[in-house]
Amino acid sequence: MARFIIRSIISTIVTMLLVSIALFFLVDVGSGDISVKILGVFATPEQRASYRAQLGLDAPAWQRYIDWLVGNDWRAERKVGYPLVTAMNPQTGEADWWADIDGQLTRWTMEEGQLLTLKRQEDGNTTKHLSSGAWELDEEGNETFWGVDTNNNAVKWQRGEGAEVWVLTKAGLRKEGDGPQQYIPLRKGLLRGDPGISLQFGRPVAVTLIPRIRNTLVLAGVAFSIIMPLALVLGILAGINEGKPLDRIISITSLGFTATPEFVTGIFLIIIFGIWLKVLPAVAIFTSPNAIFEDPKLLALPVLTLTAVELGYVARMTRASMVEVMDSPYIRTAIIKGMPKWRVVTKHAIRNALMAPITIIMLHVNWLVGGLVVVEVIFGYPGLGYYIYRSAIFGDYNAIEAAAMVTVAIAILTRLIGDLAYTLLNPRIRYA
């Protein structure tokens, strides 16, 4: 068993790595120019180029993938010459990057053509000092300096006759040959727990992703705990009453609901309960982060929609499995030897009949977590599926990658749970 679990973990890691590579390059090929999406179609080519450089999108795709995976602070450290560390910004609650100069956290900024040093104090505030003697001559004879700016980039500043850039001064803006020439947006990489900045929202992916995962887990959890027991009971009832009116009623009703796509069921439920009768909230409007806990009614229609779609699927599967088991010789033997029917069903039939539904159920857990795009869009529910969908449309590779890693992990975890559940249901199954 231990070997089985270790093997599963290794295969999980390999799968996640392969998925991340495939996704990264697919998104890269498919998403077009992100600076157009952010700056709008009316930005000039110079503005776009500058903005792409600031986002680090001018680097080749393989470089960005490695940055995404293992970070780039080690790479930037060699340029800056000091260890780069993060410190919490008390104002935003997000981590900022600093250069650690003998224990003093430092950043730099250009003002009026002067390089200024910003030193971080204990309380999170900074003090400003004129920076002297920091410039170095490069091969082309330009005075340059690598440092960390206030936007969490490692930046190469240039003084003198460099490219024509705009420098902001207190009195406005001045055009001169000074300014930032190259950017490395600092990140730790996923392996060190930093999924990066969402291009779509400009915030750390984790800040948005975690509430989304929570919301989806709540929706999926509630739906799962209603659908699965109900479906199993209905499926078993139908299975042991094969061909009788009860079976027909259960089968036809559940099949009818399942055959109706969720965007039809959802809209009808919204119109009937939300707009005509006004008894349930039509859509999931989150006026506060914890809206689903403050007003659980928000979950009613999304869960009902999911139930309608899912119920028939699992119930039919259970029914078929149950019918097959009830036909098998050992059940017939048990009945013939005079065992009460309810005992036959509970003791002998259900265990064996659950093998097939377990597979389906575990697959559906995965679908419930990452695949609820349609239901989440219809009800305006801020969940993971909708998040992945919007990120994919935008080409926000940091967000897609992080979300995909979560869903891949869940997919593999549920498969593992399914595998373990088999051994409980049927002791003949062993993993070595």
Partner: protein, 558 residues
């Protein structure tokens, strides 16, 4: 009591052209609205201009619609709206109105173009333009404070101009203010007076100052409004969860006063919830939200008769322009272009594509809501005339009709419907139109490159703001999607850009519209209407042509 009077000399002190305009108003040559627009454009305060207009027009002064006596106003309450919330960091970089609607509650603009398309001072006390409109004096309002306690002054304005004109920021203001070569053209005269020195004259400076990314930023702004929500506006940002929700609270010490003598705003709290449009419509119908950002025509259909919801329309200069690349065959031939223009049954296209909700258009990029619009007959649908033109073209080229062309557009607003209607309408004339319809992002990747396309153009308050963007020599390589240039047209346009007098400008617009209809590169059937759909208990709500949420004076009647 003696009535207050403004003499012609006082008018002339504001600007030399105002007394002339006043004469025209008295003679009935221009309407009150045009006079207000003209006088405020020249730096007269909106109040004084409205007063003059009321005296001069001979018509009675009626209170603005939606204006309530002070006794009725109620304070308090929360206003909730459904609107997509996207990337929001540097306001100057905004490329979506949704983000601007967030920023607008915290920060303010130097000017304000109201729902009636009139621009007035906002954070400015007034402005003055020189006769050649090359020098603009902006006088800042005193006594305005930022929500961090600092006093608003010229340093903030200088800083903000610096951000707009810095290419590294990526602001669309940079392209808009092409008449500024850099910060050397912005002069701080004193703490409350900033002077702009334009490279070439442009009358649209006040309108540009209300372009949606143009909020005034605090002088210490570091580039992220969510981390640093410092503004002069009436609300403060409490929470911003990207893609989810934005929450604002009323600010107690805002500088503008309500009709009851206390500071605005009337509402206590604003909440924007980010949902898909369809979910937003359902939420509005079920009373979960009070308003919906920029309803689509189908939403208008669903909401117009709904109980408890008031839908207010506004005419705009927003349109879906059919544009033809004049550097490519067959559109390089004016006969083919004009044949396509004749294939529009404009009323029918408006009905099919937009439920009849809009104003019919000429084939010129000048809308009836533009102050200097020159009224002309709407061209008729004439497939026979179009066929005759195409036949003469085909004969000369030695080709057979139908002429096969591909019309590219995006599945976004009403473009597919227009394209489909046009395909049918143009078929008797000898066009065989193939449709190439993609998702919006797919079209925006190639909008300047396709031979024949339908592009959505947003509302701009003045025609002289939009025409230079797409129909001039220097806009080739930028937004001139048709590559059309015309020396005569450009000459008249330059003249119009420096002509403050609305009547004189209308004369120029007549010529501009004629040229565009006669040999221009676009066809356009209608100007879209937009709507504001808000729960009926909210008062003082107005529909804005660009879907701006102006909420400071909105109040809730509970």
């Amino acid at each position: 009591m003696e009535k207050p009077r403004i003499t012609k000399r006082q008018m002339a002190e504001t600007h030399i052209a105002i007394p002339d305009a006043y004469d025209k108003l008295e003679q009935g040559v221009i309407s009150r609205r045009e006079f207000i627009r003209f006088a405020t454009l020249l730096g007269m305060s909106a109040g004084a201009a409205s007063f003059l207009a009321a005296c001069g027009g001979g018509t009675e002064a009626t209170p603005e619609p939606g204006e309530a006596p002070s006794g009725q106003i109620k304070r308090g309450g929360t206003w909730t709206s459904s609107m997509q919330l996207q990337l929001l960091d540097h306001p100057a970089r905004l490329s979506w109105v949704e983000g601007a609607n967030i920023v607008r509650q915290i920060n303010e603009y130097l000017t304000l173009t109201g729902p009636e398309n009139i621009t007035r001072p906002y954070l400015l006390e007034r402005w003055e333009a020189s006769d050649d409109v090359l020098t603009w004096d902006l006088y800042l309002r005193e006594g305005v404070t930022w929500n961090n306690g600092d006093e608003f002054n010229a340093d903030d304005v200088m800083f903000t101009f610096g951000e707009w004109l810095n290419p590294d920021v990526g602001s669309s203001m940079l392209g808009l203010m092409a008449y500024m070569s850099g910060m050397q053209d912005v002069e701080k005269v004193d703490d409350y007076h900033v002077r702009l020195h334009l490279q070439f004259g442009d009358i649209a400076v006040p309108e540009h100052l209300f372009h949606y990314p143009a909020v005034v930023l605090h002088r210490d702004f570091e580039g992220d409004i969510i981390r640093q929500p410092v503004g002069t506006g009436a609300f403060t940002l409490e929470e911003y969860a990207e893609g989810e929700r934005a929450v604002f609270k009323r600010r107690e010490d805002y500088w503008q006063m309500g009709v009851d003598g206390d500071p605005l705003p009337y509402l206590d709290e604003l909440i924007y919830v980010s949902t898909d449009k369809d979910a937003g419509v359902a939420a509005l119908q079920s009373g979960q939200v009070d308003s919906l950002y920029d309803p689509r025509p189908t939403d208008f259909q669903a909401l117009q008769d709904a109980e408890g919801i008031t839908v207010r329309p506004a005419s705009t200069a927003q349109c879906l322009v059919g544009r033809m690349r004049v550097d490519l065959e067959p559109w390089d031939d004016v006969r083919v272009r004009n044949a396509m223009k004749l294939c529009q049954d404009r009323a029918e296209i408006l009905r099919l594509a937009y439920f009849g909700q809009g104003d019919l258009s000429l084939d010129a990029h000048v809308a009836p809501v533009h102050p200097a619009y020159c009224e002309k007959d709407i061209p008729e649908y004439d497939p026979e005339a179009a066929r005759a033109l195409l036949e003469s073209y085909a004969e000369e080229k030695g080709i057979d009709l139908p002429l096969r062309v591909t019309l590219a557009t995006k599945n976004d607003q009403a473009e597919p419907e227009i394209a489909q209607a046009l395909k049918e309408l143009a078929s008797p004339a000898g066009f065989d139109i193939q449709l190439d319809i993609t998702e919006p992002a797919g079209y925006w990747d190639r909008w300047t490159e396709v031979d024949l396309g339908i592009t959505s153009w947003t509302h701009r308050p003045l025609a002289t703001m939009v025409l230079p963007l797409a129909y001039t020599e220097e806009s080739i390589g930028a937004w001139n999607e048709t590559r059309w240039t015309d020396t005569e047209f450009e000459g008249i346009l330059r003249e119009a850009q420096g002509t403050l007098d609305v009547e004189a400008r209308r004369g120029l617009m007549c010529q501009i519209e004629d040229i565009m209809q006669e040999r221009g590169p676009i066809f356009n059937s209608f100007w879209k209407s937009v709507w504001n759909a808000t729960a009926s208990e909210f008062k003082n709500v107005e529909a804005h042509p660009t879907a701006y949420d102006l909420l400071y004076e909105v109040w809730k009647d509970v």
